[in-house]
């Protein structure tokens, strides 16, 4: 997978978090995985079709999600992931994807990328695979907590 397709997704997380006042976002290790598997409480996943095909997911713990949602809502404390919190989480996913697609479209080989609406999965010990595309997993350390970005693109 070419790095030019990966950077936009990492950069967009950073820029969206910074919009909400979460300033420090550093990139951890990049791991290659056979399948896109994560063990986290919340996963937001977006499918892409067009000139960039595949799936991108963002996964975090419940605590990290609450921190992010709280920042999105001007510091309002978030006790539980109720309907409003989930709606904020969806918005977060939409914003990241929209920004990433904006940068992807500036690549020469990319004329059209269509995102499918994000699906957000909440629960305990969620295990996910995106078969059968090889996946890159990138850990982001942020002031709100760890975010694991999984990118499985068919290119």
């Amino acid at each position: 997978m070419d790095v030019q397709y990966i950077t936009p997704f990492l950069d967009s997380v950073k820029s969206i978090l910074q919009q909400f006042g979460i300033q420090n976002v550093t990139r951890g290790t990049i791991k290659k995985k056979e399948t896109m598997s994560v063990d986290k409480d919340i996963i937001s996943i977006v499918g892409l079709v067009g000139d960039v095909k595949g799936n991108v997911s963002y996964a975090f713990s419940e605590a990290t999600a609450k921190n992010i949602i709280s920042s999105m809502m001007m510091g309002m404390p978030v006790e539980q992931l109720d309907g409003m919190a989930r709606s904020a989480m969806s918005e977060f996913a939409n914003m990241i994807t929209g920004t990433a697609i904006g940068s992807l479209s500036s690549l020469e080989a990319v004329n059209e990328v269509m995102p499918s609406p994000p699906s957000i999965i909440y629960g305990k010990d969620i295990f996910m695979i995106i078969s059968p595309v090889e996946t890159l997993a990138i850990e982001l350390e942020t002031d709100a907590g760890k975010i694991e970005v999984n990118i499985g693109l068919e290119m």
Binding site: M36, M114, P117, S119, F127, I130
Partner: protein, 159 residues
Amino acid sequence: MNPQLTSPFLESAKNMINQMASVQIQESDSFQEQQDDIASYGVSALVTFAGVLKGRLLLDLEPSLAKEIVQQVMGETYDDMKDSTFMGMMGELSNIIGGDALTFLNNEQSYNLRLASPAVFIGKEMIISIPKIQSATIHCTSRHGNMRINVAFEKGGVA
């Protein structure tokens, strides 16, 4: 949502699961608009598709039914649902059911729909939320457990 868009997914699910695993599933209601988030039965397979229309198929199964299907197809029992073969088989199931339904829709309406890679989730107390898209759900039963089929089309399936 237009039943012409949803009913092929039910027919394909019934036919493919029967062909692949000799398991009969039977709908217990009709497709209803999905208003809220979905509380998962435990095993979910999700596959998106795009062409003239964009949409998504979600199959949500009780672990007992998922295990029966995988066992029938693979000829082996999997106690650990995190096994990559188990989860891969659930992905393949959604691929085959989705592919069959899209084949029908493409032939009827020239939608030129193509499938993306399936994603499979397992977990406890999972809630699946698909914001900003219209979807409809139908519930099904079988001797081995329940499942639901949720079909979403952007803009309600209007090209």
